[in-house]
């Protein structure tokens, strides 16, 4: 079986998924000119995103999830692999840098809303620029009404008042809403959200997650939602994919994956989530000794093998292929070979 996954829930009439990533790999060089070694940050990652779908990408720090979506956003170059956007292999057709068209279709929201906005520019300015650059609005009146529309759509009311404010006058949650409004300004089809709530106060996180959900429902915008928090992945992700040490080890529909985790790493991850509902009853976490391995020219095989309780000799030889457990759930693990 190839790594190309059968398309789950493909909508009628759509010939291509919105985004299809195949064998995406990133090796960062390190060391000196004479002795260069490579950090294998992302290794052979493949997945699809359908229109209007939220795909959660979960993993611990260093698992390669941010590097993966930075490649999709074309902020960094891929070492290998393809990024096919609506049937077009953009790494071939737009080899050196992404076209304006691609950048208007694929937008990104960053983790830290305190550093992603320019402190000396008004909120209105942050939204006017993409409108002008992408030609979404031209006359002064058009721009003004679009800015207010955008601010209203992310829940910043009264919009005209927010447009005149500066980033330091807003709370973290409000800034993150501005960042979302800025991404929406160019009418994207796919938004890449890198831990968008992890730096926000607890009580306002759900507001931002619910906003993402509403944008998906009402505007058919697809999201790749990066998080280390499985519970929020379950909450918002139609699908969830699990990364470990640069590899994607398991994926599928979120409910199916959370209830029937197949990969030993996913099981460890799920059992480590604090759960007040189950907390006192079952406190039997699956243990994993040790830490994430070094990514500098790692040995062949499954990266989780050194920590895995069910490791077999074959695990250290080669990375297992994608195995579909049912039509909504796949895993890469020797236990299922």
């Amino acid at each position: 079986m190839t790594q190309s996954a059968p398309i789950v829930n493909e909508k009628e009439g759509e010939r291509f998924p919105l985004l299809e990533v195949q064998g995406l790999t990133k090796h960062f060089p390190m060391g000196t000119f004479f002795k260069t070694r490579f950090v294998h940050a992302v290794e052979d990652v493949s997945f699809k995103v359908q229109r209007g779908e939220v795909v959660a990408l979960v993993g611990e720090s260093g698992s390669g999830k941010s590097t993966t979506i930075r490649m999709v956003a074309r902020l960094i170059d891929a070492t290998r692999g393809s990024i096919v956007y609506q049937g077009e292999d953009v790494l071939h057709t737009e080899r050196t840098h992404a076209s304006l068209r691609y950048r208007s279709k694929v937008q990104m929201i960053f983790q830290d809303p305190f550093s992603s906005l320019n402190g000396v520019k008004s909120i209105g300015h942050h939204l006017e620029r993409p409108l002008q650059i992408h030609g979404k609005a031209t006359t002064r009146a058009e721009i003004r009404s679009r800015v207010e529309e955008l601010l209203t759509s992310v829940g910043l009311n009264p919009a005209w008042e927010f447009a005149g404010k500066y980033p330091h006058e807003l709370s973290g949650g409000q800034r993150q809403r501005v960042a979302i409004a800025r991404a929406l300004a160019v009418e994207p089809e796919l938004i890449l959200a890198d831990e968008p709530i992890s730096m926000l106060d607890v009580s306002i996180r759900m507001g931002v997650l619910n906003l993402i959900e509403a944008l998906k429902e009402e505007n058919q915008i697809a999201f790749i939602y990066i998080t280390h928090d499985l519970a929020s992945a379950r909450y918002i992700g139609d699908k969830t994919m699990v990364m470990y040490a640069g590899r994607m080890v398991e994926g599928g529909e979120s409910e199916e994956l959370m209830h029937h985790p197949a990969h030993p790493y996913t099981r460890v991850l799920i059992s480590a989530v604090p759960d007040p509902h189950a907390g006192l009853r079952t406190n039997q976490a699956v243990a994993a000794r040790g830490e994430i391995p070094s990514l500098i020219e790692p040995p062949p095989g499954c990266p989780f093998a050194p920590r895995c309780a069910q490791v077999m000799p074959a695990c250290r030889e080669a990375m297992p292929p994608v195995r579909w457990l049912n039509d909504a759930h796949w895993v890469r693990c020797m236990l299922y070979e």
Binding site: S61, A272, G279
Partner: protein, 328 residues
């Protein structure tokens, strides 16, 4: 000293702390009272800016200007910490109360090996000879789950989880009866976080110390804490046994916090979080500070802070219209 404080290891009474800023005095901690019994784990939960770390720093008297303690007392086994001289404080800290900081990366000195950082504590505070201190350090590393072979490592050679364990070892060096843990697992990944929490529970069981555990993540506390106090804008708004608090939250803020954490198990339900944003502490709302965000607020809530009430289960709440409890 109140009768109810008798026997308490730590009793904080009516503590108020202000930050004197150019925009005016910020009451970061406003008439806060709670106690910690010997061997008890008290969880202090609240969002950033709610005053939880300020309380921790007050107990150790390590607040820096512009913060000033403007009222109240902090009694450790009946002695008022706020009245101690600098000399008394030096003898008191670490031996009686030690602090585990949030970010182990910043708490450890990067150019000193971890063993020296552990032994330093013992040599300074207890005049212990180096040999003896090193033997104790080896023992401490073993109990917190670090291979003693790593004793001579420098902080950058240890992973985040190991650094945090080293910081816990340092805090435990003098066997203090009270450990204050200020977000000890926040910077760590979930799997490592779980391991550290398990280690803390085991250490507490073996050594019997009390813990004041400060976190913004309420969901951690049900597994760990005996008692939970919920802070909002410098005040404790609700306090109860941890199971009681989870099963029957009575303050609307607590309820809102619980509606801010999606669950990994059980039926999937829509969560609303809490509308609005935490208040500007220079000009906090009048009356109950939560009233602008509270769905149950009435006119009286904006006028006067409600008086604390306690029910037969020892469940404190500061609210005019507390939830009757039961459903979540």
């Amino acid at each position: 000293m109140n009768a109810e404080d008798k026997g308490a290891l730590l009793a904080v009474r009516d503590l108020s702390v202000e930050y004197l800023t150019p925009r005016g005095a910020v009451k970061a901690v406003d008439h806060v009272s709670f106690q910690i019994q010997p061997g008890e784990v008290v969880g202090l939960a609240g969002e950033s800016g709610s005053g939880k770390s300020t309380i921790a720093h007050s107990v150790l008297r390590i607040l820096r200007p512009p913060a000033v303690i403007s009222g109240g007392e902090i009694l450790f086994r009946g002695d008022d910490i706020l009245g101690m001289t600098q000399q008394q404080l030096e003898a008191f800290r670490w031996k009686n109360v030690a602090l585990v900081f949030q970010s182990a990366m910043n708490a450890l000195n990067p150019v000193v090996s971890v063993v020296d950082q552990v032994t330093d504590t013992m040599m300074v505070h207890q005049k212990m000879p180096r040999k003896e201190a090193e033997a104790r350090a080896t023992e401490l590393f073993r109990v917190v789950g670090i291979d003693p072979a790593r004793l001579h490592s420098y902080p950058h050679e240890l992973s985040g989880g190991m650094r945090q364990r080293a910081v816990i070892a340092i805090a435990m060096a003098l066997n203090p009866p009270l450990l204050i843990m200020d977000e000890p697992t926040t910077a760590l990944d979930v799997v490592v976080q779980k391991e550290i929490l398990r280690q803390i529970i085991a250490l507490k069981r073996d050594f019997g110390f009390s813990i004041l555990f400060i976190t913004h993540d309420l969901s951690l506390l049900v597994e760990l804490a005996d008692t939970i106090a919920i802070m909002y804008a410098g005040q404790i708004v609700e306090q109860a046994g941890s199971r009681e608090l989870f099963d029957h939250p009575r303050h609307h803020y607590t309820q809102g916090l619980m509606n801010s954490f999606p669950s990994i198990s059980g039926p999937k339900r829509r969560l609303t979080g809490i509308p609005g944003a935490p208040p500007d502490m220079v000009a906090p709302p009048s009356g109950c500070r939560f009233h602008p965000r509270c769905l149950a607020a009435q006119a009286c809530c904006a006028e006067k802070v409600p008086a604390p009430t306690m029910d037969e289960n020892g469940h404190h709440v500061v609210c005019y219209f507390p939830l009757e409890g039961g459903e979540r």
